[in-house]
Symmetry: C2
DNA sequence: AATAGTTGCTAAAACATTTTAAATATTTGT
DNA sequence: ACAAATATTTAAAATGTTTTAGCAACTATT
C-alpha cells in the first residue's frame, strides 16, 4: 500500500530528464541556470501533481543547514519561559525555521548534554537561557561560528549576543518603591545562584537599602523541587519583616501560598512585590505588584538578532547586548493598609 | 581553526581499517559480526580519544529513524500544556528521543502545516492535541504506520491511541456539586468547538442541570486572542446567575479578572469552578475550586504508549484509549457565603 | 570557415552513514 | 597436506539531496 516515498530520482526518471535539472528548478535557480520555461513548467506541474516533497534530511546532509533552531529554557512549564517560547516559535516558523527545545532546570550537566544533542542534530542556531557552568560549551559553539543568542541572563566571560532586562535597576526601583511606601524591614526572598539576573537583582535590592540605611534581609533559596520548607522557616523566624521582594515568579508563588497558610495578610502584615508578571499575580486579592518584563520585546529582539545572523551567515555582524526595561506594575499588595 | 568535523571515514583511515568495521563496533554489533576484541578496544579507544560523534543526519538518512518525537499542543504558554510538555520532554530524553514541538492555537491550517513539517523531518512518532479538521492528515499518518498518540481530546472517526480524562463525568460532577451547595442559576462559560473534551464538558453540565430541572445558561466563547468583551457582555446581561463553571483555565482566568473589574464578589455574588488547576487558582482569594486533571499520569501514559509503539515497531499492539479521572478540588470559591 | 559565445541541460562527486554480500585469514578435521 | 569450516574484515551499494564542472548544440563574430 504505502508506496515508497518519491525521490528526486523518480521525478527525473519519470520525466526522462536529469535530477540536476529538477533540483535547480525546485530551488528557484532556473533562471540562473538558464533552464527553459517549458521545462520549468513541466517539472513544477508534475511535482505538484504527484505531491513530491524533497527529503529534508538528505537536503540537510548535503547543505549543512537544518533550518532548525535550538531553544534552551530553564523550565517550559514556567509561564515566563512558556510565553517567550511561544512567541519565538511563532516568529521562527514564519521565517521557515523549526524549533527544537528543552528545559535545563538549571542543571549544568543536562544543559551540556542538550547542547551536544543539538549540535549533533545540526541546528543552525541557538537560543539559550544558560545556567552556570556552561561557558566552555557555549564558547566552543561560538568558535565553530554558530549563532548563539542568550537571554534572561548572560555569561560575563563570553562575547555573544544577549537580550536581558535591567535587573539591577528593576530590583533597586522596586525596593525604593517599598521604602517610599514607608516599609522599614524589607526582605528579599530569591532563588540564588551565580546567574547574572539573580546577582543583579540582589545588588539592586542591596543598593536601595544601603541608600536608606536599612537592614538587609536576604533569604537565598536552592533550586529545589519544593521550596515550602525553606520559605516557611524564614517567614516564621523573622517577625519584624513588613515587606518582601521575591526574586522570581516561582519564589513568589510559593511565598504567597505559604503566607496564606501562616495567616500572614497581604499587605496588612507583609507587603509583597514579585519579579515576572503573570495571571496568578493579577488575579490575586489583593493583586500583587510585579516587576513586569517586556516579554514580546524580548522575544522579538531574540529572534530578530538570530535570524539576522543566520541570513548574514554571521559574517560581519557585531554582537549586540540588548538591555530592555521593565515596568513596575503597582497593585494593591505593596500599599500599606489604610489606618 | 575549526577543523572539519571527523567522519567515520577519517576514523577508518587513521586506523587503517574499513569504515564498516568502525560502524559495526560503534553500533554494538561487534559480537554478532565476530569482530575481535582487540579491534573493538582499539577502535573504541581511538573514537573516545578524538571525540568522534556520528553525524545523526546521515544516520537518519540511511536508517530512516530520526529519534525525534513531534509534540503538537494547543498553546505552550498555557500552564496545562506547558506542564505536560515538560513531563513528556523529560521522559522522552531519558529514552533517547528528542522533542520537536509547536503550538496550534487550534488553527487547522497551521496544524496541517506542522504535521507536514514534522513528516518532512522524519519524526518517528507524534503526540498531538488535535484541533478539529485534521482527521485526514492524522489518518494518513496512521496509514503510513506512524505511531500517533492523541491527548486532551480525540477524534471520534480515527482509530488510534489516546489519553484523555472523563470530561463528561467531571463536568457533571462539578455541576452536581454546585447544585448540592444550593446554587440554582448555574452558568457554563466555555470556549466552544467540536473538540471532544469541550463537547463532553458541555454534555456533563447539561446532564446535571437536567437531572434537577434547572435552567441551562451556556456562553460559548470563540478561540479569540482576547475574551474580555464577550465574557463581560455575558456577565453583565445575566443578573440572576449565582454560579459559573468555566470550561478551561483560560476562560476562568479571563472570567475572574472580569468579575473583579465588575465588582462581582466570589463566592458571595457568584460561585466559581474552573477546569484545570493552576497556581493562579490556588492563590486566589478565595481559592478557586477546580477540576484538576492528573497531569503526571497523562504524560506518563502518553509517553509510555508512544515508546511502546516505537520499540515494537507498532506491530501487533492494539490501540489503547486511556480515560483518566479528575479530582474535584473543592476550595472556597464554590461555597455559599455563610449568612 | 574557424572561433568564440550562448543556451539548455546533465554526469558524477560529495555529504556521512548503514548494510549486504563477499573476500580473506585462521582453525579444524581427516 | 588439503578440504572444509569458521572467524574476521571489507568493498560497494544504498539512502536523497546539492553542486561542480562540463557537454552538446546552436548563434554570432571575425
Amino acid at each position: 500500500m504505502s508506496k515508497k516515498r518519491l525521490s528526486i530520482v523518480d521525478i527525473a526518471n519519470n520525466l526522462n530528464i536529469s535530477k540536476t535539472t529538477v533540483s535547480f528548478i525546485l530551488n528557484g535557480r532556473a533562471k540562473e541556470k538558464r533552464i527553459s520555461t517549458d521545462m520549468v513548467e513541466k517539472v513544477l506541474k508534475y511535482v505538484k501533481e504527484v505531491g513530491y516533497k524533497p527529503n529534508s534530511l538528505a537536503k540537510s546532509l548535503r547543505t549543512g543547514k537544518s533550518n532548525t533552531i535550538g531553544l534552551i529554557v530553564e523550565d517550559i512549564s514556567n509561564p515566563f519561559f512558556g510565553s517567550i517560547a511561544r512567541l519565538i516559535e511563532d516568529k521562527a516558523y514564519k521565517n521557515g525555521y523549526k524549533i527544537i527545545y528543552c528545559s535545563t532546570y538549571n542543571d549544568t550537566q543536562k544543559t551540556k548534554d542538550m547542547i551536544n544533542m543539538f549540535r549533533d542534530r545540526h541546528v543552525d542556531g541557538y537560543i539559550i537561557a544558560p545556567p552556570q557552568g556552561v561557558e566552555e560549551d557555549i564558547a566552543s559553539l561560538i568558535t565553530e561560528s554558530m549563532p548563539v543568542v542568550l537571554f534572561d541572563r548572560y555569561l560575563p566571560t563570553i562575547d555573544t549576543d544577549y537580550v536581558v532586562v535591567n535587573n539591577q535597576f528593576s530590583a533597586y526601583n522596586a525596593t525604593q518603591y517599598l521604602v517610599g511606601q514607608g516599609y522599614k524591614n524589607i526582605a528579599l526572598i530569591t532563588f540564588a545562584n551565580d546567574q547574572t539576573q539573580m546577582v543583579d537583582r540582589i545588588k539592586g535590592y542591596q543598593m536601595a537599602l544601603k541608600e536608606h540605611g536599612l537592614k538587609q534581609l536576604i533569604k537565598e533559596l536552592p533550586f529545589a523541587e519544593d521550596l515550602t520548607e525553606s520559605i516557611t522557616a524564614f517567614l516564621k523566624s523573622r517577625k519584624g519583616i513588613d515587606a518582601v521582594l521575591f526574586g522570581t515568579n516561582r519564589d513568589a508563588t510559593y511565598g504567597i501560598k505559604i503566607m496564606h497558610s501562616l495567616g500572614i495578610r497581604i499587605p496588612e502584615d507583609i507587603a509583597v512585590i514579585s519579579f515576572d508578571d503573570s495571571d496568578a499575580f493579577e488575579l490575586h486579592s489583593p493583586p500583587i505588584t510585579t516587576v513586569a518584563q517586556p516579554i514580546e520585546d524580548m522575544a522579538e529582539h531574540i529572534i530578530t538578532i538570530l535570524l539576522d545572523k543566520l541570513n548574514n551567515n554571521g559574517v560581519g555582524t557585531k554582537n549586540q547586548s540588548i538591555v530592555l526595561h521593565t515596568d513596575l506594575v503597582v497593585r494593591g499588595s505593596s500599599q500599606p493598609a489604610k489606618k
